[in-house]
Symmetry: D3
Subunit: 134 residues, 6 copies
């Protein structure tokens, strides 16, 4: 799961460079495959995806709370790509690292130690997002 | 799952009476069985349960947000009793019905239509909590 | 889960009467709680539920195949109420008992022996649907 | 899930009587529905069920260890009926209450607090099995 | 998950070449590890695997419907390798892209947006299978 | 998931070398990310991780049985990294290959054929552990 290349970039202090690659790869693959899927014109899938966007819009609950709800749900269901997506959005919305780890804590307590490996990957991606910004 | 007795009490307009019974039954069973479990003095279980309480304490995120995180996690994992517990806490903390249904919406979108039956039971329990108060 | 009343009705050969009660209770509760939920006007939930109906409409795959897809998905996810719903629809569409048990077999093999208790409840409900018709 | 009748029997100190009913109801329903399912002669289901029995036979691991493996797997997958089945078998094989709670602890840590409601029901059923014997 | 090498092969229009690699790698790893596992002569595992093959044989339901049942079950349970296996079989049986996306739609609606990342990988693999043929 | 490099190392008979790399990579990534996570000083996560260690300590059940309980739970929940961790510990404790495959069998029967891909990866990692030792 972690290539030699990735490991060595971490050890050589080229973390930011590597990190950007990680976020970029995730976003690129996501965009490319979404295009493939949407090109097939399945109405149910198209509408579900629109609805997905609406779900996290400002409402009686603010946008930040909703992203954290989506994140914790993704964590206990152990969906790494869903986690990455919500980590990205949460970072854009200004969630702090301390707040993020409280979300991680809820996910670990509710979902148990099987959530730990996903927490490791979430922590890795979060570091990248935070370090990218600086 | 719904006894004739329960159905008829609903139809006869004795809703509040029935509702209190539903919350009371849940809390009574929970308390009674927790006592049985804790009486066995298994250290790991005791500490996990203490930790569970700590998880939802005020921190970088406020108590209300944390309860909603616990709730949405319980909904996508489809744990009816966990849902009831967090509905009770959320109600005490003043979550509005509109906010609650936005949490339900996130759970239904992330977890899919298999969350619907749990949403029905959550909605039933929420009605009871809200009606009890009045 | 099985009340004394239910057991004795089975033993007294009043199976059909009891069975109708089982299907009726499921449908009544479902209808009543759906009304409660939809009355709150949460747009995401409303749209998701509409989409749910569209998903099973005739398309490149026929309606019967789609119901069986919904059923097997509900079985491996172990959602008893979702199973009951798709059993009802499948019965209306003329699925035979032999076909139904081949769906049960796929669910048991893919999902493992934890699907067995749900298969028992599915078999019980299916008997009721089949006996009701005669 | 807990009828008034059940609650009052507990309060009146008629616990043992009630307990036997709980185990008996579970076994009766299981037997009755297994007969319905096997009467349909689906070969895959029949063979899977045979295989299920073989899985827990004495081998490189002893029977008791295998039952506990089946139990902890059932707990983290949150299958109450599977849990009851393995609790019954484990009790027959002489597992002590202290050992049982160590299995519960593993299940709660690996699977998280969503396993707690299933632990409550497991603890209730275990009490019944233990009290029945005396 | 997507290496630079893979990305660049896609961008260079060497899609078919890459695609074959993806299917081939999956099948090779599967074959090699199955051999390792079966060489250990665990009877339960051997029989379960035989049974798995029987499950998808022609019966009261045709082979194509059964493959789609296996596929949708694998999608909602989010098992990427199981999905690939059933995609391969479905492709051999002549399932059309339009039909395939209706299966994807059922999986996404029943299982929720956590199924989307698995749908992306399924769509990628399906493209490869379809393009390989031409 | 399996890089060309990995495949060729297998084919060239450099299995032991590759195998060590696999275990080492897993342990290195795990250690590095645990450090990141623990450096954030989230009390709930820290305590949960301590508790996790306590869970597998000698008690009324011996350490080996407890590791196997953790392993089978990880297998049915399909957590590859959790599986690897418990495989490593089980190997240290002297679990034999025959015993290990009986645990795999329980996991496959309880959790169904969706556990098979995880069994393949478990078998691969187990081979590495066993071959490393010699």
């Amino acid at each position: 799961m972690v290539s030699d290349e990735r490991l060595s970039s971490l050890h050589l202090g080229t973390k930011n460079l590597y990190m950007s690659t990680m976020v970029k790869e995730f976003n690129d693959y996501r965009t490319r495959m979404n295009e493939v899927i949407l090109s097939k014109d399945n109405l149910v899938i198209k509408r579900l995806w629109n609805l997905d966007t609406n779900t996290y819009a400002e409402g009686a609950l603010d946008v930040k709370t909703k992203e954290l709800l989506g994140l914790v749900a993704s964590m206990v269901l152990r969906c790494d790509d869903c986690i990455k997506y919500h980590l990205g959005k949460s970072h854009e919305l200004g969630v702090s690292t301390e707040q993020m780890y409280e979300v991680f804590a809820v996910a670990n307590i509710v979902g148990g130690t099987i959530v730990i490996p996903h927490t490791r990957r979430a922590a890795e991606y979060w570091e990248e997002l935070v370090n990218d910004k600086n």
